[in-house]
Symmetry: C2
Subunit: 556 residues, 2 copies
C-alpha cells in the first residue's frame, strides 16, 4: 500500500525536487477556492463539516485520553466554538508513539514519503473544510484562510517533504567499498547506511497560521522517521486537530500505526508546551510564537533540536519611487492584510525627513506619510471589501495593543472598528499609523504585533538603511522592503539586508506584497537574525532530523 502511494505521488515529488533547486514558480495544490477544482459541493460540504464540529467532542482515537479540553473562541462569531478535544495522558501517549516508530523507520524513505504525500493530498481535498476551521479560529478572512490555511500550507508541507527526501536519499542506502591492495586481492566491504530518526518531534502551533507554520516541521519530522506530537495554540486547535485526524487516517490505511501522529491540546493557562518540551523522548521541537517562549525553549530544551520562529520588526525603506502612488497602494494593502497579524507584515517605514523624489516630483515627508495613510483609509473605505482583507482581530491582547498604539506618537491614521456585514460580533479593526522620529527607538525598535505601523523620519536614506539593518540584527525580521529608483541605493540595501540576514523585496508596486512568501521559491525567515533560528525550508531545516547509522562487513 505505502509503496503504491509513493508511485501514485511520485510525479509530484519529482517536480517538487526540481523546483526546490530552481526556486521558480510552482504550486502543487490549487489556491483558487473554486467549485470547478474542488467540486461544486465542496464549499457547502466544508462549511457543513465545520458547523458539525461546533459544540461537539472532536474525537481522535489516540491512546491515553483523560477528559477533554477546548476553549476556542471565534473572532468572527464572537463566541466560543464549544469544541472539545481529548486531553492527552502523556505518559500513555508518548510510549504508544514510540512503539509506532520502528515499522515506520523500517519502511524507508520512499514509503514514508508516499504516506506523507497522500496525507497532503487528503488535506488538499478538504481545503474548504480546513478554510472554515482556520477562518473561525484565527480570524483570517475566508480567502486567506482558504489559501494560507489550505493549499499554501500544503505546498509548504510538500516542500519540507521534498527537502527531507532529498537529504535522506543523498546517501546511498548501501554501497560496496573496494580498496585496492596492490598485488593482493582488494579489501571489500558491504556497507549499509540506515536513516534513523531522532525520536518524538513536537510541533507547537501558533494562533494565526496554525497549518502554514505547523506543516513544515510536522512533515519534515514525520517523513524522516520520527513520530510527531502536535500541540496547537489553545486559541486555534481545530485546524491542527483536523490535520492530526487526517494524518492518522492515512497512516492507518497505509498499514502504519496511526500513533505516529497525535494531538496534545490544552486550555489557555495550562502550560503544556513547556512540559512536553522537557520530556526526554522529545528530540525535535518546531515552535512558532513569542520570543519569550521561543527563547525559553532554546535555552531549556537542550536535549532536542529546537527550530523557532519568534517576533520581529519588519521594515520598509522608502528612498524614492518612479510611481509612488502604486508603492503607497502596495504598502497600504500590506498593512491591512489580516490586520497586520502576519509575522511578515511591515511595521517600521523609514522615510527621509527631507522627503523623497517620486518620478519628477518631490514629496515631503508628510506627503509620503499622508499618501500611505490615505491609501489605507481609502482602500478600507468599503466595509464589505475591507473585512475580506482585514479579517478579524485574533484575540483581545492584539486589540488592546492597537488601542495603546494611539498614544505612541502623532497619529496619522486612527484605527477604526468596522461592523462586519455578515458577523455583527466580529472584532474588526483597521490599522493605526503613527508618525515617529528616528530618535524614538524605544517605540519602534520592538515588535507591536497587529495592525500597527510607524512612519519614521530619518536623516536620509543611508540612515534609513542603517536603522532597518539595526532593527533586523537586534530585534529580528522576517521581511524587509525597499523603494528606490536609484540602482546604487538598491545595491547598498541588498548588501545591508544580506549582511543583517533578512530577505529583501524591491520596489513592490503590483500584485506581489512583502507579506507574501511563496512555497518552493521564497525562503520564509533566514535563521540569520533573531526572528527565527531556521528557514522554511532549506537543508538545514531537515538535515538534523535524522542521522545516518552505518553497518559494515566484509564481502566477497
Amino acid at each position: 500500500m505505502s509503496e503504491n502511494l509513493f508511485e501514485r505521488h511520485r510525479a509530484t515529488l519529482d517536480k517538487a525536487l526540481q523546483v526546490i533547486h530552481d526556486r521558480s514558480y510552482w504550486s502543487a495544490y490549487p489556491e483558487m477556492p473554486s467549485g470547478k477544482i474542488y467540486g461544486e459541493t465542496a464549499n457547502d460540504d466544508g462549511k457543513a463539516a465545520f458547523e458539525g464540529y461546533l459544540n461537539h467532542s472532536f474525537a481522535i482515537d489516540q491512546p491515553g485520553s483523560i477528559g477533554e479540553v477546548g476553549q476556542e473562541e471565534s473572532p468572527f462569531l464572537g463566541e466560543p466554538l464549544g469544541i472539545r478535544y481529548p486531553k492527552a495522558d502523556i505518559d500513555i501517549l508518548i510510549p504508544a508513539m514510540q512503539a509506532a516508530m520502528p515499522a515506520w523507520v523500517k519502511a524507508g524513505p520512499d514509503a514514508r514519503a508516499g504516506a506523507c504525500l497522500e496525507i497532503l493530498h487528503r488535506l488538499n481535498k478538504r481545503s474548504y473544510e480546513m478554510a472554515y476551521t482556520v477562518m473561525q479560529t484565527t480570524g483570517q478572512a475566508f480567502m486567506m484562510a482558504f489559501q494560507a490555511g489550505g493549499p499554501h500550507a500544503q505546498d509548504r508541507g510538500l516542500e519540507a517533504v521534498a527537502y527531507a527526501y532529498r537529504e535522506m536519499t543523498a546517501t546511498a542506502p548501501s554501497g560496496l567499498w573496494e580498496k585496492p591492495q596492490g598485488k593482493n586481492p582488494p579489501l571489500k566491504m558491504l556497507k549499509k547506511f540506515n536513516i534513523m530518526p531522532r525520536g518524538i518531534g513536537l510541533v507547537i502551533g501558533c494562533c494565526t497560521f496554525p497549518t502554514w507554520n505547523g506543516y513544515p516541521g510536522l512533515f519534515a519530522s514525520l517523513v524522516t522517521g520520527n513520530a510527531v506530537l502536535v500541540k496547537p495554540h489553545p486559541g486555534a486547535i481545530l485546524p491542527l486537530a483536523l490535520t492530526v485526524r487526517i494524518c492518522r487516517e492515512v497512516l492507518a490505511e497505509a498499514g502504519f500505526d496511526p500513533n505516529l501522529v497525535a494531538l496534545a491540546a490544552n486550555d489557555p493557562g495550562q502550560h503544556l508546551a513547556s512540559v512536553l518540551a522537557m520530556r526526554p523522548e522529545v528530540k525535535i521541537i518546531d515552535f512558532t510564537g513569542s520570543t519569550a517562549n521561543g527563547d525559553w525553549l532554546e535555552n531549556n530544551a537542550r536535549h532536542a533540536q529546537v527550530y523557532t520562529e519568534k517576533a520581529g520588526v519588519n521594515t520598509i525603506v522608502i528612498d524614492s519611487a518612479d510611481d509612488f502612488k502604486a508603492a503607497a497602494r502596495n504598502i497600504a494593502f500590506s498593512l491591512s492584510l489580516y490586520s497586520g497579524q502576519m509575522c511578515t507584515a511591515p511595521q517600521d517605514i523609514f522615510v527621509p525627513r527631507g522627503g523623497i523624489q517620486a518620478g519628477d516630483q518631490h514629496l515631503s515627508f508628510d506627503e509620503v506619510a499622508t499618501a500611505i495613510a490615505t491609501g489605507v483609509s481609502k482602500f478600507l473605505s468599503d466595509p464589505a471589501r475591507a473585512v475580506e482583507v482585514l479579517g478579524a482581530i485574533q484575540n483581545e491582547s492584539v486589540q488592546r495593543r492597537v488601542e495603546a498604539a494611539h498614544d505612541l506618537g502623532e497619529v496619522l491614521l486612527a484605527s477604526q472598528a468596522i461592523t462586519h456585514p455578515q458577523f455583527p460580533k466580529a472584532r474588526v479593526r483597521t490599522p493605526v499609523i503613527v508618525k515617529l522620529d528616528a530618535k524614538d527607538e524605544k517605540v519602534y525598535m520592538h515588535e507591536h504585533f497587529g495592525p500597527i505601523a510607524f512612519i519614521i523620519a530619518t536623516d536620509d536614506t543611508e540612515h534609513s538603511i542603517a536603522l532597518a539593518a539595526k532593527a533586523t540584527r537586534e530585534q529580528g525580521a522576517l521581511t524587509c522592503s525597499v523603494y528606490s529608483s536609484d540602482e546604487a541605493v538598491l545595491t547598498r540595501m541588498e548588501e545591508a539586508a544580506a549582511e543583517a540576514g533578512v530577505a529583501l523585496s524591491v520596489n513592490l508596486t503590483g500584485g506581489v506584497f512583502v507579506n507574501q512568501s511563496a512555497a518552493f521559491s521564497d525562503f520564509h525567515a533566514t535563521g540569520a537574525n533573531p526572528a527565527a533560528n531556521a528557514t522554511l525550508t532549506d537543508s538545514a531545516f531537515v538535515a538534523s532530523r535524522f542521522r545516518v547509522i552505518q553497518s559494515r562487513r566484509h564481502t566477497d
Copy 2:
C-alpha cells in the same frame, strides 16, 4: 586566479560529489609515503623542514601578535620542541578576519571551493613535512602520522568541501518566478539567492589528531564563506600552525585576504578556547576534546553553532566466530594501534561468561580473554615492530591512567614500557588488559582514554548487546564491533547499534580495523549518541554554516 583554481580542481570535486553519495572507496590523496608519488627527496625535505622549525619562531604574518607562546614537547624525543608561535591579540585579529570576509563571500561558491581545493593540494604536497610535525607532537608512529595526519586528513577536508559545495549549490543562485494570473499577464519576479556565512568559525584542535579532526570543520566553515580561527591544542600546535600558514599562502596567491584563516595558539594552562568561544563574532565552533570541555561549549557558546566530538566508550561484542584466531589478531591490532589513543579504539569487550563457539570448538571465557591478551603480547613482542604500531604516549596523564588501570581488576596483560630503538627517551607503553564482570559498571562504563581495555564477562550475548547499547546511549561511542557466526545475532546487534546510534563493524578478521574510518565512505561519529553531536561529514554538518538570503524584484 581563483576561478582557474576551480577549473584546475574541478575533476577532483566532481568525483568527491559522486562518492559522497555512493560512499564507495575513493581517496584523492595517495596514502603511501612513497618517493615515487611524493618525490624522491620528499622524505628528506619534509624531515629537514620539520627540524628547521625546532627551537625557532614559527612566523605567521597575521595582524595583532603580542609576544609568543609554545611549549610543545615531543613524545618521542622526550624534550621540548622549542617552537614559538605568535600570541594573538584577539581584539586586533578578529576585526581583521571580519574585514577579509566580504570579498570572500562575494567571490561565490566556485571560487571559494577552488581556493580550498588548492589548499588541500598544497597540503598534500607537504605530507612528509606534515607527517613529521604530527608524529613529533601527537606521538603517532610515522606511518600513521603520514596517513592520518596527511592524505587521510586531506580526504576528510575534501569531503567537507564537497558536502558544503553540494549544499551551497542546492539552491540556484537566481531564478525567474512567473506566476500565471489567468487572462492577465503573469506576475514575474527575478529572485537572487545569496549564500551568506555566519561569521567567524572557531576550530578547537585536539592533541592526538589535530589535522584529521580539525580539517572537516576548517574547510566546511571556510568554503561556506566564513573566516576561520584555528586554536590548536597546546600540545599539538605545529601541524595546525603549518596548515594555517599554507592556507594563508594560497589565499593570498588567489587574491584573497589571508586573514580569512588565522592562528590562536596558547600555552598549557592558558584558558584561551573558552575566551575565544564566547566572542560574539564567533558563530561556528568545531571542537574535539574532553566531554567536560565539549559540554561547556554546548551549554555556554549559545550564540554559535557548536559541533563537538567528545569522549566515548567503544565496545566489542563477541558472540562466536568462524575463525577466532583471526578475530583475536584483528582485535589485538585495534587495541595496540597508536596505543589506544584513537577516539575510535575499542575499550569494552563483552564475552559470555560461559564462553563462545569458535568454528567447531568451544572456547571458555578465559580462553577467549587469553587469546586476545596473547595476541597483543605476541604482536608487540618485537620492539622495533611494536613501536611502529604503538607510537608513543602523547602525554603523562595517559601514562598515569595506564598505570592506574592495573588496579581496576584482574590483570590479563600488564602494560610494559618498551625502549624505542630510535628514540631512547620515547614514552612507549603496551596496552593493559583487565578482566571484569558485567556488574563492574563503575569501572567500564566510562572512558579510560589510552591503551586500556576490559574483557567483561556477561550472562550471554543478549546481555552483551544490552550493555554495549547502554554504554553507547549513556556514555557515547564512536565505534562498535561484533563477532558472530549467527546471522540472527548480527541482525539483533545491527538493530541495537542503529537504535543506540553507533556505527557497527561486523566480523572484522582481515585488513580492516574497527578504529579505521575511511573518508567518503565511513561516517565518523553519528551525532546520535553522547560521544558527538555531529557527523564527519554529512549534510547536517555543513548546512547550518551558511544561510540563504534572498532578494526579489519584479522583472519584465
